[in-house]
């Protein structure tokens, strides 16, 4: 069986790759040499546009287009901010990348900063990743010593300073404008857009915010050209993507896949997830981190028109919200037949309730309300009307909030009810039945008496 192309994780298993000498021996920092000495800024941007690289943080926006939008007024500094606030439940790809091969991110930051004409760049990392902060700080120090950062890099006129900033553990600070607020030292509330960060971002200056994985893909694009990168994957989803596979599979972990890989192969192939644990039946998959719609087996393996579903932006979203989902950040959560969708949804709802920033009313009030209703259902006091109420609440949150957290809280609820309504009904009618599933029985003593 053919192994997919590895771009980001090619050298991940080389011993000592976290050190600059080893990284350099594996071809590291070549893209910086190439870009700074033989390419103009516009040429680098052009290669990224040609590559078709899409943002890996969740929204999947064209990176080249985003870079092109960056306003370039005279005499105003511009900033590049790397979003390493990876907090989407089910997503842990950036952690793996930064832990194993920190210099790849730094190399990407240098090349991207050069392309955008940035002289000060930031890596905003979540507080829980403090050990990664230390790894990256060490790598940045090495890069400064070796002359890849600082004044007159490679004896050119280009200067770049790279700073790290540690968040304090808020999910909302992964939203780009909340991240910028937090970076400025304020309360991490999302800003109201427009203006977009490309016009007024960090300290009111034009700013690009990119995910770790996006930036880490840039060195390859510069080294091998955008067309080469675009030759992998599908037409609209080029290149490779890191998928954080978790849940009831035999081999959870981070996998680099060429986009366009069939979902069925990803789940059942021994090169990837290795099938469902204990030979159980697949029940549902959350394909792109907790906020994307959950899909039942028949819809995740096949699109509504019977084609095999592929791991790509366009194939996963085929069927719209009625029958599709999104690639999101690539947090691939697999559930087997023993999983309870109601319990799973309660966990998600609790998360979004806890992480809502409280700025706009639908999200602040609605997320808590949904969690309370789900809690009530779990406690065995639910009624069938509660399902309709949940549906109504999510429809009043979705699309009506300042940032995407409202949508992220609404979609899991909407999709769970859309595809698994009968399971909610069954749970409400007979809450005791959940105790027949052993792993829930041990953990929660649910129905009958409220806990």
């Amino acid at each position: 069986m053919k192994e997919g192309k590895k771009i980001l994780l090619e050298h991940i298993d080389v011993p000592g790759i976290e050190k600059i000498e080893t990284f350099r021996a594996c071809g590291g920092y070549q893209s910086v040499e190439k870009a700074l000495t033989s390419m103009t800024e516009a040429e680098v941007v052009h290669e990224v546009i040609t590559s078709g690289l899409r943002g890996r943080g969740g929204a999947g926006f064209q990176t080249g287009t985003k870079w092109n939008f960056l306003a370039k007024p005279e005499g105003v500094p511009r900033y590049l901010v790397c979003n390493a606030d990876e907090s989407e439940p089910g997503t842990f790809k950036d952690r793996y990348l930064m832990e194993k091969i920190p210099h790849l991110l730094i190399e990407g930051m240098i090349v991207s900063s050069y392309a955008l004409g940035v002289n000060k760049a930031y890596i905003y990392i979540r507080g829980e990743y403090f050990y990664l902060y230390k790894i990256l700080e060490k790598a940045i120090e090495e890069a400064y010593k070796a002359g890849w950062l600082g004044q007159n890099i490679l004896n050119t006129k280009y200067n770049l300073d790279l700073y790290m900033h540690i968040g304090a553990g808020a999910y909302i600070c992964g939203e780009e404008t909340a991240l910028l607020e937090s970076l400025e030292g304020k309360r991490g509330n999302p800003r109201i857009k427009p203006p977009f960060p490309a016009v007024a971002g960090l300290y009111g200056c034009p700013t690009v915010v990119n995910n770790v994985e996006t930036i880490a893909a840039v060195p390859y694009i510069v080294n091998h050209g955008g067309e080469n990168y675009a030759s992998f994957g599908t037409e609209k989803s080029t290149g490779t993507k890191l998928i954080s596979a978790s849940g009831h599979i035999n081999k959870p972990g981070v996998y680099e896949i060429e986009l366009g890989l069939p979902v069925e192969e990803f789940i059942y192939s021994d090169s990837y997830c290795g099938g469902i644990r204990n030979g159980n039946e697949l029940k549902a998959v959350v394909a792109g981190g907790s906020s994307v719609p959950i899909l039942p087996k028949h819809l995740i393996l096949q699109t509504p028109d019977g084609q095999p579903r592929l791991m790509s932006y366009e194939s996963l979203s085929e069927g719209g919200f009625a029958a599709g989902t999104m690639l999101g950040s690539g947090g691939f959560i697999v559930m087997d037949e023993t999983a309870s969708i109601v319990m799973n949804l309660h966990t998600f709802a609790r998360f979004y309730h806890h992480e809502s920033c409280g700025q706009c009313s639908p999200c602040r009030e609605g997320t808590g309300w949904m969690e309370k209703i789900l809690h009530k259902i779990l406690d065995g006091h639910g009624t069938l009307a509660d399902i309709d109420l949940l549906w109504d609440i999510q429809s009043k949150i979705e699309g009506k909030t300042i940032c995407a957290l409202g949508d992220a809280a609404a979609w899991p609820v909407a999709s769970a009810i859309r595809h698994f309504r009968s399971e909610f009904e069954a749970y409400i009618k007979d809450p005791m039945a959940i105790n027949k599933i052993s792993h829930y029985n041990e953990k929660y003593k649910i129905a009958g008496t409220a806990i």
């Binding site: 409280g358 009313s361 009506k400």
Partner: protein
């Protein structure tokens, strides 16, 4: 001049105006209700989502409809924009949803709340809300707190509009209060329990759309609709000195800034005018105030006439059917 269409009416506007500002320049029913937007302050709005409208066409250049409703207070009007507010069932539905969200954790203690009668949330609830609640859980509770010696913070009633935070930021020097915690337990707070101590802090009472920030010198003195507003002024070295006095008989019960038809302060006043000058002799009386904002102070028109007949009997006064004279609306029915 660029032109925007709101609810089928064409309105000319100046470049740089938001949809809400354009609507207000025309006035009438097409103006979306607001809870957090405040025209006298910078960077307000966008939080409460009551002013959301549907954009059917973005501009002449780009006549596509926007997929999601937008906050009219934060979206710039563009030439050729077509907006639906009252005429879109989708908007009304979404707005009813927002009202419901704002009310699920609100204590609904209007009978003992000093703001009742001039409360934006009360008006909004009557105009856009539902008759009953679907929320069956415990409402969140906070301790009552004093912000300084003249202002009471009743966090239970707060809808987190951020107006007082922006007021403190923009018209007083050195903000000493802000928002702590996040999500549905976020609260307005003075840092380290520090009292607000500056000359203009009292304005946070006027900007508060609900009864979260109230005047301790007026607290529980009277219902606002029993007091009589009178415009007055005095020579004040600190502020404009233009105020509204609220009389009960011969006594001035409270002093506030003058407010316009949207309930927004016309000119900020200082604490001395607000809290210290409560004698008629302190003021030059101009005459009775006209209260434009439709609320219980000015008129009893929460319900449309046809609704008053059946709803008031059914809900507000169950006995009304047998004894029409006892209905709260009996005067108008006659």
């Amino acid at each position: 001049m660029p032109e925007i269409t709101i609810d089928g009416q064409k309105i000319e506007f100046n470049q740089g105006m938001t949809i809400l500002e354009a609507a207000r320049s025309k006035g009438g029913d097409l103006v979306p209700p607001t809870m957090c937007y405040y025209s006298k302050l910078k960077d307000t709005g966008g939080y409460c989502r009551t002013c959301i409208v549907k954009v059917e066409a973005e501009s002449v250049k780009n006549p596509r409809a926007l997929p999601k409703p937008v906050a009219s207070c934060r979206t710039l009007a563009q030439d050729g924009m077509v907006v639906k507010n009252q005429t879109s069932p989708e908007v009304l539905e979404a707005r009813a949803g927002v009202v419901e969200f704002l009310l699920i954790n609100h204590p609904l203690d209007c009978p003992v709340c000093d703001q009742a009668g001039e409360c934006s949330l009360q008006d909004l609830g009557y105009e856009h809300g539902k008759m009953d609640t679907r929320y069956e859980f415990k409402r969140r509770e906070f301790e009552q707190r004093d912000i300084g010696d003249k202002i009471k913070l009743h966090m239970n009633r707060c809808i987190l509009c951020y107006r007082c935070v922006k007021t403190a930021e923009q018209i007083t020097d050195g903000r000493v209060h802000g928002v702590c915690s996040r999500g549905d337990v976020a609260e307005i707070s003075t840092y380290i329990e520090q009292a607000i101590d500056n000359d203009f802090s009292g304005n946070v009472i006027d900007v508060c759309p609900v009864g979260a920030l109230t005047d301790k010198t007026f607290r529980f003195k009277n219902r606002v609709w029993f007091t009589k507003p009178v415009d007055a002024h005095r020579e004040c070295p600190k502020c404009s000195g233009k105020v509204r006095l609220w009389y009960k008989g011969e006594d001035i019960l409270r002093v506030t800034a003058r407010k316009d038809q949207y309930g927004e302060v016309e000119e900020w006043i200082c604490n001395e005018c607000r809290f210290e000058k409560k004698k008629t002799a302190d003021w030059v009386i101009e005459g009775p105030s006209k209260v434009d904002k439709h609320s219980v102070i000015s008129a009893n028109h929460y319900l449309a006439p046809e609704m008053k007949n059946d709803l008031s009997m059914l809900i507000l006064n169950p006995d009304a059917g047998n004894n029409p004279g006892s209905s709260p609306f009996s005067k108008e029915q006659e």
